[in-house]
């Protein structure tokens, strides 16, 4: 599977690695903006922090 990017104002076509190609196929028709990507990562960070804090929080209750 190939993807494209714009470099120097020209469209560059490049081959995707197998796993990245599978990921893009799975996300076909879906869109993710840069802002959404940042928010997604932040949500995951918060969830992870909460998971790590859970034993401590439970021990206090």
């Amino acid at each position: 599977m190939y993807a494209t990017a714009v470099v120097e104002g020209k469209v560059v076509r490049f081959k995707l690695s197998p796993a990245l190609a599978r990921a893009q196929r799975a996300n076909l028709g879906r869109n993710l903006t840069e802002r959404e990507a940042v928010e997604f990562v932040e949500t995951k960070r918060r969830s992870r922090a909460l998971r790590r804090a859970k034993p401590y929080l439970e021990s206090r209750s």
Binding site: V7, V11, F14, S17, N31, A37, K44, R45
Partner: protein
């Protein structure tokens, strides 16, 4: 050229778009045209954020060089972002590649010798353009 990839860049790479600079940056690293560096803390975050794509996580791990930062930094206001800076300093990286340049995040053009660039900015640098051509031709 040594790069440290922010997690949001790898997430963006998994979504098809006509101008997917993030995917191209990853492919440069996979082709050995750029050295992608990561720390164990970063790999943990990659695996967490890309948990729905374990095969892609495996590809990332296979293509990253691992460093073990000895110093915990408190330079960036948003604390988790410091893990990427620690890695960049430990690996003596040239670039941190991110789309998160909001205040309190990677909001400077450089941290000491490490430049902060978006995937699009990286690909358009004079020293990177030949690598892109090489990848596209290969």
């Amino acid at each position: 050229m040594k790069v440290v990839l922010d997690t949001c860049v790898l997430k963006l790479a998994t979504f098809p778009s006509e101008n997917n600079a993030s995917a191209l940056v990853f492919q440069l690293a996979r082709a050995g045209l750029a050295e992608a560096w990561a720390s164990p803390a970063m790999l943990e975050e990659y695996a967490d954020v890309l948990a729905d794509r374990p095969d892609f996580v495996a590809e990332i791990v296979e293509n990253c060089r691992i460093c073990h930062p000895l110093t915990e930094l408190r330079i960036i206001r948003h604390e988790p972002d410091n893990r990427f800076l620690e890695c960049a300093f430990a690996a003596n990286a040239d670039f941190i590649v991110t789309v998160n340049t909001a205040p309190g995040h990677f909001d400077r053009e450089r941290f000491q010798t490490v430049r902060v660039v978006t995937p699009g900015q990286l690909l358009n640098l004079p020293e990177v353009r030949p690598l892109v051509r090489q990848l596209a031709e290969g």
